[in-house]
């Protein structure tokens, strides 16, 4: 009886063994086809953008805001509208954008202050006319009634109901450097990327700050991978699903509250360790804007989108869990491989690059 079973099992598995190579190939194809593909449409000064240096992008329903070096641009119903200092913008160079989902109002960080845009009205906050810590506003985020800013002189928080400004810097936080570069807000925590001082975490319930720095200290070698933040030169943070994603100029990190996982080019699909922005979709998936292309990580596999670094031709490739790289034929690419920011419009992506704004239209 037992023999019959074994024989039956042997015959039953033979067909599987016979098709194994093909199955592996199919798995690779599955990985390749499961990664999002896009047809890219690019916007530059040639078709309405006020400048090709796009620092930030934000999607608000059917509308897309782009922060450029020469004004704030709004794409609505297929047409661009541009806001400049003549319209009340604090400065022509727009560095960061955040939407208050409750009110629909837009907050804009510029090189010359913070703007609040509400149904066409533009209010300006500067270090002279308000409690804002510094006019260079690299990052902005909305958390309930509070607007948090990352500035060149520390963090600021505006209570929009009382008008009170609270400043956070080396005097009241573990912030060794005060060059805050980005902010990400959640229901329970606020995270800051502090250029040269790692990541700062603010717990809303307690009002307390905690810092996360590179356990390797100033050593440029990664001695203790996954023991903490990959590097203290942080450029971006993204807090989603109780998970922190942090970008640095020397690799990227993910922290779930207990464990760190770091990403470097040598052991991940990152096209570069120099990352300008990371944006998490959830605890496992994230997008990385690097100086050598846009990368998507689905928790196992990677996809990279860019004009090829050597030829400039459209390029997409997928790196699977085993490190196998599979090129994916594409006909379009983002405007440039120097990526600065990303946002999402249903299945589409919008990407701020060094030479234009790119719209990735998801291909099924």
């Amino acid at each position: 009886m037992k023999l019959r079973i074994w024989i039956a099992l042997l015959f039953a598995t033979l067909p599987l063994a016979a098709v194994k190579p093909a199955a592996v190939a199919n798995a690779a194809d599955t990985v390749t086809t499961s990664m999002p593909r896009f047809r890219w449409e690019n916007f530059t000064t040639a078709n309405g953008l006020p400048d090709n240096h796009v620092f930030a992008v934000l999607v608000d329903g059917d509308r897309v805001w782009a922060g450029t070096e020469n004004g704030l641009a709004l794409l609505e119903a297929g047409k661009w509208k541009v806001f400049t200092p003549k319209d009340g913008l604090a400065h022509r160079a727009v560095l960061s954008l955040a939407i208050d989902k409750s009110t629909g109002d837009l907050w804009v960080g510029t090189m010359g202050g913070l703007n609040h845009i509400s149904a066409g009205r533009i209010d300006t906050y500067t270090q002279l006319n308000s409690g804002l810590s510094n006019d260079v506003v690299y990052g902005v985020g909305v958390q309930g009634d509070f607007v948090w800013t990352a500035t060149a002189a520390g963090a600021s928080r505006l209570n929009t109901r009382t008008g009170e400004w609270s400043l956070y810097n080396e005097r009241n936080t573990p912030m060794a450097e005060i060059w805050t570069y980005a902010v990400s807000t959640g229901a329970d925590k606020v995270y800051y990327a502090v250029w040269g001082s790692g990541v700062l975490e603010y717990t809303i319930a307690t009002g307390r700050w905690k810092d996360y720095t590179d356990p390797d200290g100033d050593n440029e070698l990664v001695l203790f991978k996954d023991q903490g933040l990959i590097h203290k030169i942080t450029s971006s943070v993204s807090y989603v699903d109780n998970t922190l994603w942090a970008a640095t100029y020397f690799g990227d990190s993910r922290y779930d509250g207990r464990s760190w996982h770091n990403f470097l080019t040598k052991d991940s699909g990152l096209p570069s360790n120099f990352t300008n922005q990371v944006k998490g979709l959830d605890a496992t998936r994230a997008w990385f804007c690097t100086d050598k292309g846009l990368a998507y990580y689905d928790g196992v596999n990677w996809a990279v989108y860019r004009p090829a670094l050597d030829t400039g031709k459209p390029e997409m490739y997928v790196r699977d869990a085993n490190g196998k790289i599979t090129p994916v034929p594409v006909e379009t690419a983002p405007a440039h491989n120097y990526m600065l920011g990303i946002d999402f419009q249903d299945d589409d992506v919008w990407v701020a690059t060094g030479k234009g704004l790119s719209h990735g239209i998801r291909q099924k």
């Binding site: 409750s102 149904a119 006319n129 308000s130 409690g131 009241n172």
Partner: protein, 631 residues
Amino acid sequence: MRRGLGIALALALSAAAVAMTLLSATLPHAQASAPAGDDQHLSPSEMAFSPDGRLLYVVCERSDQLLVLNAKEGVVLQRIRVGRTPRGVAISPDGRQVFVTNSWDDTVSVIDAAKIDSATETATRTIATGAEPYGVVVDHAGKTLYVANRISNDVSVIDIASGAECKRLMAGRGASYLAISADGTRVYCTHVYPRIGAQRTVPQSEVTVIDTAREAVVERIPLQGVAGMFHIALSSDGRMGVVAQMRPKNLVPLAHVEHGWVFGHSLTVFGADAGGTIEVPLDELEHYYSLQYGVAIAPDKSRILVTASGSDIVTVIDTKRLLAFAHSRQKPFVNDLSASANYVMARIAVGKNPRGVAMSPDGKRLYVANRMDDTLSVIDTTSNKSVGTIDLGGSKNISALRRGEQLFTTSRYAFQGQFSCANCHIDSTFDGLTWDLEPDGFGKDIVDNRLIEDLSGTEPFKWNGGNPSMAQECGPRTEMYFYRSQSYSPPELADLVEYIYSLPPRPNRFRLPDGQLTAAQERGKAIFYRTVNKFGKAIPEANQCGYCHSGPKHTSQKKFDVGTGKWTDRSPVFDTPQLVNIALTAPYLHDESAGSLEEIWTVFNPHDQHGATNDLTKDELNDLIEYLKTL
């Protein structure tokens, strides 16, 4: 049965009380019951009808009451105690709930209309709002309340069932009055103070438009040259909106009263019928109708009715003629004093200081709240005549204080009735504008108009400290340089002074409920009263905040040169202003050159003359400002 008994009881009580005066036989003579043992004034200001038109709700600012009237009979059925200084009223679409904003409590009283006849005199619950709630409307589903908050400059969006404030929407400065469109898709908000802009520029205001589906601001209709917007009304077909407003002419010297160059009183008409935004003057060549306040549009859109609260008049406008005239003009005509003859049908005399209006659902009657004589005027909208006056039962003992307030709000003393104290001191506050007064020379001594709350002990007055007493400030000075027509008699002046000195400070919204200071405010207080700088060096007395801004009102009542004089000033020496509720009165400095408290020190204090502040870090300056906001 119970309701019937309640009404019968109220009628019986009413019949035994003060008689109601009716000027026409079209209304039955009815009586209102004066509140027992209550000899105070009522100051009715806002009204709303129940959906069936049976009840008229009247908000009384002075007595903190909501009066419920049988509209047909003109009888007060109930007097309901609400919160402090109520300013607005709205009724749920089913008529079951009445909402009253309490401007000094930052709450809305919710009243169960079913219990009104059962002598239940208290609100069933209160809902927290933003700072100083005024106007209120309910959405058509009866689920969401919108409240305009004058001090926090926003609109609270409140879930009625839970009482939770879901969000605040940024509105104009001094957000005050609301109207909801007939289809319920939009809420419109006006505001009484102009936007803080660059110094000595044309005032800017807006009508804030809220999408009720998204509960978000979707449009801001800009109004150039307008400062002081009051009620707004919308036509039933959704094609026309009307705003009552002022146009101050504060950028030219105040020397042209006789030319009409102080205030214009007008309407903004907007929407499809207007083809955009049209400003429509309501003054006449030789007479003004000051401080337009309440406004209504007839259900058939044939007429617009608006109160001139400083002139004791209701103006009736023929809508067709107005639109035809407006469309025939190629250029703006808001400064054309001859224009109103083309569309004004009637000027109807009403009681003192007419404010809010309510039109009966059938459009046949307009009720007008006469704030300064505790009555309602009833206007027949067909004949354009006042057909009755309802006495609400306020005190008949007209005190000096009351006479003073009546003087404050009437424009009859100014040349051709052009303006009153209340034009510049809106609701006895300020106007957010600078003015160029004549006696010091054209273009000289351009000054900020200051808040007039809690003034006792802050003498002298004027920015140069030139008037040692309120009597001088309001007497000869007003006669010669403002009104240029008629002076107050000595008793009148005494009454006016008494009223102005009686104005209390509004509750400070920046202190903690228990009166304690936050950590930041405590740090700021230490800076305010410090005598040495951060380097341990003694700060000269005159450079210490607490030296010049000393005493209970934070003024030493002395004059100083704090380095803020401009080429336009005859002297750089200024009276030390009191700091009561200083957070509310931006822009700052004598000429409003500082757009915010911060700018006083970040821009206008380079040599530490206006307090020793240049050793402070940005955090410390923020702390100082947080403390100042508590004063």
